[in-house]
Structures are given as structure tokens and as C-alpha cells.
């Protein structure tokens, strides 16, 4: 697995798109910090971007890599290695190279800015951790879609739809159901609904740091326990890990029966 990982990682790190992605974050980091001079605001803007863009890029890279390397994957499948190792290697290769683009792209401007002296270091690292999680989750999800869809165009379409659903539509349905069922106790429902969407989950993790003053305005006991203690942080992190583990397990399950 490590051998496959190594080479897909090499391959991806030298691809033009990795550079574009890296440069995008680099530029973003510099613009936010040096034209703005407000670290708090930079972190908020970055959150908005990371939460939407990382899943999108992870999804696109995931499906593209799968379909583009289909033939090469067949060559690998004829080698004396386990199937799941080939795909896990590729999966980790993509996820790690994307994460590296993110961490270096944003890390360099922040380090130059003197982030380590700033109090925002914790918020910023949390942002990177969440971004990394989103990469691993969405590459896994898109690999699942690609593995289940032979047709490249269809697979691409489904993947983008999945992203659109999780990034926008889900929250729309969520907020509408909150407003409609206004007269019922909704605290448990809203926390559970958050857990079912990795983007919402990542958002909550960052909100726990950035907007804790607002979140503590909730009256419900469940909310108070979730937001007022480390409980919320732990649960969210745990569920994020599940969001990586479950698609990866499903990938391995799917692989056992898949024909190439």
C-alpha cells in the first residue's frame, strides 16, 4: 500500500492542478493577512472558503483521478498485490497531496505573518485540521461514487450533485424543517442533523471556537452540554473520524465484488 501511495502521491504532487490549488491557497492567505491585517476576520473568511471549497476540490480530484487512472489501475491489478491495497494507496495519495497543498498554501503566509505569536494559532490549526478531514472524507465519498458508477460522465455528475447537496441543499432543508417544526423541541434534532453532514459538522467544530459566545445563548440543556463543555468538541471529532472510516470501509467492501 505504501508503495502505491508513494507513487500516486508523487504523480499528483507534480500535477498542474496541485500547483494551481496550492497557489490559490497561498495567494488567498497572503491577501487575507497582508491586505486586511485582521487575523480574526481572516480566519472567518478562510473558514467560509475551506468549508465549501475543500469538499468540492476533494470530490473533483477523487473522481477525476479514479477515471483517469483506470487503465493504469488495471495494470496494477495484474500485479501480485491485494486489490484493497491498490485503492487505499491511491486514496491516501490523493488525500495527502490535497491536504499538503492546503496546509502549505495557507501555512506559509500565516507563518510569515507571525502567526505563532498570535492568539489565533489555535483557531488556525483547527481550520487546517478540519480542512484535512474534509479532504479525506470527500475523496473517500467520491471514490465510492466512482467505484459504483462505470460511466465517467455519470460518475462526475453524481459526485458534483453530492457536493451540492451536502454544501447547500442539506442546510436549506435543515433550516426549513427547523422553521416549520418551530413549536417542537428541536435541540436534539438539530444536533443529530448536524452529525449527518460532514460539512455542517466541520462548521460546528469551528463555530465552537469562533462563535462560542453566540452558541452559549442557547437555552436547551442538550445544547448547553454540547457547546458549554469539551463534550461537543470530542463528539464532533469522533463523528468526523467516523465519516472517514465508514466510506473507506464501504470502499473496501465494494472492492471485493467489483469487476474491472
Amino acid at each position: 500500500m505504501l508503495k502505491i501511495l508513494k507513487y500516486s502521491f508523487y504523480d499528483l504532487m507534480r500535477s498542474r492542478w496541485s500547483y494551481v490549488y496550492f497557489l490559490f491557497y497561498l495567494l488567498l492567505g497572503f491577501v487575507l493577512l497582508f491586505l486586511n491585517n485582521d487575523v480574526d476576520k481572516a480566519v472567518i473568511t478562510l473558514m467560509n472558503i475551506i468549508i465549501v471549497l475543500t469538499p468540492l476540490i476533494g470530490t473533483i480530484f477523487g473522481v477525476m483521478y479514479y477515471y483517469n487512472s483506470k487503465e493504469f489501475t488495471e495494470l496494477l491489478l495484474a500485479q501480485p498485490i491485494n486489490r484493497s491495497k491498490i485503492f487505499m494507496g491511491q486514496y491516501l495519495g490523493i488525500s495527502i497531496s490535497l491536504t499538503l497543498s492546503l496546509v502549505l498554501g495557507l501555512g506559509i503566509p500565516f507563518v510569515l505573518y507571525g502567526l505563532f505569536k498570535s492568539a489565533a494559532i489555535f483557531n488556525f490549526s483547527l481550520l487546517l485540521v478540519v480542512g484535512a478531514f474534509l479532504n479525506f472524507i470527500f475523496v473517500a465519498l467520491s471514490y465510492n461514487i466512482a467505484l459504483s458508477t462505470e460511466n465517467k460522465i455519470k460518475g462526475f455528475g453524481y459526485a458534483i450533485l453530492m457536493w451540492l447537496f451536502l454544501a447547500v441543499i442539506y442546510d436549506g432543508i435543515f433550516i426549513i424543517s427547523l422553521v416549520v417544526f418551530n413549536s417542537y423541541p428541536l435541540d436534539k434534532f438539530s444536533l443529530v442533523a448536524t452529525m449527518f453532514n460532514p460539512i455542517d459538522l466541520s462548521r460546528i467544530l469551528i463555530l465552537l471556537k469562533l462563535d462560542i459566545s453566540a452558541l452559549l445563548g442557547y437555552t436547551g440543556a442538550v445544547f448547553r452540554k454540547f457547546f458549554g463543555t469539551n463534550f461537543g468538541m470530542l463528539i464532533s471529532m469522533g463523528v468526523l473520524v467516523l465519516w472517514v472510516v465508514l466510506p473507506v470501509l464501504r470502499m473496501n467492501f465494494k472492492l471485493r465484488k467489483k469487476d474491472f
Partner: protein
């Protein structure tokens, strides 16, 4: 000023004839009560190092009570400790501990009844029910005291400095924590509280009820139920205070209820659940305040008329402004909003398009508090944008026509 000079001559006169009574375990006079019995007007009682287990010490003549370092009066959690019923007294440097708890009587470390022209300074009060309780008094100075307790709920706790019916009081450089209210003004006029630090109190850091023409400035209120509550009061002047970290479902930096004609300027509201919560507040000028990373910077609940917000900084608050109705009689102008996305083509430092501080999302959260969990979601940004373009639910005329492009009160 006039009374200050009077006070000066008053003490000068005593300096000539006053004598000192020393209290200590090995002295002739062993208890404070004994010393007070012996003392004449204008005498000074010097309390030496040691623990004095006494309660209900009534002082009814104008004398000074001075504690040496290490002088402690321990009330044994029975009742009140010192009760002053005289004008022109002074108490300094004492440590007073363990005031009794009662649900019917307001026991205090230092109770002052119908006294004018007094000074309470450099005292430490620990494990108190009420710290300093002043009734129907004038021209008192309370300074450099440290008052604390460790109470868990409102019913079993008292206030740090409680003034009931007073005039021209000066309260400064005191530190209060673990109480119900740090400082409580009830029917108080023409008084000032400044440079106090009030934190970790169960209810309010500072509380005004039916008190007019008062001023407080340069105080810090941190992590209280609410920083400051001003209720049913007129002409209150609030400036250069810091309201920080007041977190909770009913927590505010500043709570305004039924107040008129107040000035609020140069204050900092940082990381409170709600920076300012205003209900029935009229003719209030908010100027040069900084609202930093609050849940809601300002929440206008109802019946607030003719309020003016000028030159305030709204920085990275989760929500800048919440309104529970779509009528508006308040004015926002020349503020800095970190959320503002407009442009300034003519480079005059003022944004060329108006800013609407009330978002559709803040309207939704008002109706359905749980929706707050969707804060900063892309979907929320989209609906906020559409509401911004054509307002339906939020007050149409509520906007800052001249948003400033740079921070004002940096």
C-alpha cells in the same frame, strides 16, 4: 468640592485633640467593642494583628477604625459584623470575614445606616453575605476594597457594595467577585463608580435600579451573569468600560431596561453572548463603542425609540444586530462593520453603498433559536444575500447609509 474642604478642616480639628486606642490580644483593651465603648468623638482605634471573633459591633460615634496588617475580624458565620450609625467615620485596612447567611436579614461585613461623609478603604472582605451595605447615606467614599464570596445561587448570595437610597457616593478601585451583584445602586443619585473590577458574580457586575444621574467609567466587568444592568433609570453616563466574556442564555454585556437619556461611549464589548440588550430604552446615544466577537453585538427587543448609533466598531460578531420587529425608529450612521462588503470608489473613507446590519438569518434565529446552529453556512449566506437585495422580513429603512471603511476606535 465644597464638602471636601469641609471634611479636611473637620479632620484637622480632630488631629489636635484626638487620641488613639490600641486593641490587641495582650493589650489592656482586648476587644473592638470595648474600645468603641471607651472612645470619644474623633478618636482613632488601632486594631493590631490578630483574629477578633466579634459580631454586631455597633459604632455610633464619629471615629476611625484602622486595622494593622493581619488584623482580622471573624464573624463566625453568625450575623452582621460592623454597623456604623454615625457621620464622619473612617474604616481602613481591616480584613473582615465570615458573615452569616440569612434569607430574611441582610447581614453585611460593613453596614452603614444614615451616615454622611464617610470613608471605607483598603479593606478585605471574604466569605461575606453582603459586603458593604449602605442605607440612606450621602457623600461616602468606598475605595480600594476587595470583596468576595463563593456563593452558588442568587437566593443565598448578597451584593458586594449595595447602596440603597444614597447620594453623591464615590466608589472606585474596588474588586468584587463571587457575589450576587458586584455593585448595586438602588434609588441612588449623582454618584460615580469608576476603575472597579467586578467578575464571576452570579447576577450582575453592576446594577442600577431607579437611580438617576449616575456615572460609571473605566470599570471592567468580566464573566458575570450580565456585565451591567441599568433598569428604570434616567441620565446614566457610561463610558470607557470593558464588558467581557459574559456568556450564557440570559447573559449580556450590558442590559438596558426602561431607561431614558443615557450616554454610552468608548466602551468595549468583547465576546459576550449579547453585547447590549436593550428593551424599552429611549433617547440613548451609542458612540465610539467597540463590539468585538460577540454573539449578537446589539439586540433591540422592543419599544426602543430615538436611539442613535454613531462611530461604533462592529468587529467579527456572529450577528451584528437583532431586531424583533420590522419597525425602526433608531439611527445608524458612520459605523464600521467588519461584515461590510461594499466599496469606496471616491476614496472618502465612507462606503458607497449602505450597509444593512439586520440579516434575514438573525430574523430566523429570533423566531427559531435552534437555527443558530446553521450560522455561517453557505445556504445562510445565500438567503442573507437575497434578503439584502430585496428586504421582506427585516426593516427596510434600517441601514447605515455611511458605513466607514476602516476601524474607528482602534
Amino acid at each position: 468640592m465644597k464638602y471636601k474642604i469641609g471634611l479636611f478642616f473637620f479632620f484637622m480639628a480632630f488631629a489636635v485633640s484626638a487620641k488613639q486606642i490600641v486593641v490587641c490580644q495582650s493589650c489592656e483593651v482586648k476587644t473592638i467593642k470595648e474600645a468603641i465603648k471607651m472612645a470619644k468623638d474623633g478618636d482613632e482605634i488601632l486594631i493590631k494583628k490578630g483574629v477578633y471573633k466579634e459580631q454586631d459591633i455597633v459604632i455610633d460615634k464619629p471615629i476611625s477604625l484602622i486595622g494593622e496588617k493581619g488584623a482580622v475580624i471573624d464573624g463566625n458565620n453568625v450575623g452582621g459584623i460592623l454597623i456604623f450609625q454615625t457621620n464622619n467615620f473612617k474604616i481602613k485596612g481591616l480584613k473582615i470575614i465570615n458573615v452569616g447567611l440569612s434569607y430574611t436579614i441582610e447581614y453585611a461585613a460593613i453596614k452603614v445606616i444614615r451616615a454622611n461623609d464617610f470613608i471605607i478603604e483598603d479593606c478585605i472582605m471574604e466569605n461575606v453575605f453582603f459586603g458593604i451595605l449602605v442605607e440612606k447615606s450621602k457623600r461616602g467614599i468606598i475605595r480600594n476594597n476587595k470583596i468576595s464570596s463563593n456563593r452558588k445561587n442568587e437566593a443565598s448570595s448578597g451584593n458586594g457594595i449595595h447602596i440603597w437610597s444614597g447620594e453623591e457616593m464615590k466608589i472606585y478601585k474596588n474588586e468584587m467577585f463571587g457575589l450576587r451583584d458586584g455593585i448595586y445602586f438602588e434609588f441612588v443619585k449623582n454618584s460615580i463608580a469608576h476603575n472597579n473590577l467586578s467578575y464571576n458574580n452570579i447576577r450582575y457586575g453592576l446594577h442600577f435600579m431607579f437611580s438617576n444621574n449616575n456615572e460609571y467609567h473605566h470599570n471592567e466587568f468580566r464573566n458575570n451573569g450580565a456585565g451591567v444592568a441599568v433598569m428604570f433609570s434616567k441620565f446614566t453616563n457610561m463610558h470607557h468600560n470593558k464588558f467581557r466574556l459574559n456568556w450564557g442564555s440570559a447573559s449580556y454585556g450590558l442590559l438596558l431596561k426602561e431607561i431614558y437619556d443615557a450616554e454610552i461611549y468608548n466602551n468595549l464589548f468583547e465576546q459576550n453572548t449579547i453585547g447590549i440588550n436593550a428593551e424599552g430604552s429611549t433617547r440613548i446615544n451609542y458612540k465610539n463603542n467597540t463590539f468585538l466577537r460577540n454573539g449578537w453585538a446589539v439586540k433591540i427587543a422592543g419599544a426602543c425609540y430615538s436611539n442613535i448609533f454613531i462611530k461604533n466598531d462592529f468587529l467579527n460578531n456572529s450577528l451584528d444586530l437583532a431586531y424583533n420587529s420590522n419597525i425602526n425608529d433608531n439611527k445608524f450612521d458612520n459605523n464600521y462593520w467588519s461584515e461590510y462588503t461594499g466599496y469606496d470608489l471616491d476614496k472618502d473613507g465612507i462606503g458607497d453603498v449602505p450597509y444593512r446590519p439586520v440579516k434575514l438569518f438573525s430574523y430566523i434565529v429570533n423566531k427559531t433559536p435552534e437555527a443558530l446552529i446553521l450560522l455561517r453556512s453557505l445556504f445562510v449566506d445565500i438567503i442573507n444575500f437575497s434578503e439584502k437585495v430585496s428586504p421582506v422580513f427585516t426593516p427596510t429603512d434600517l441601514m447605515d447609509n455611511n458605513p466607514i471603511m476602516k476601524r474607528i476606535n482602534d
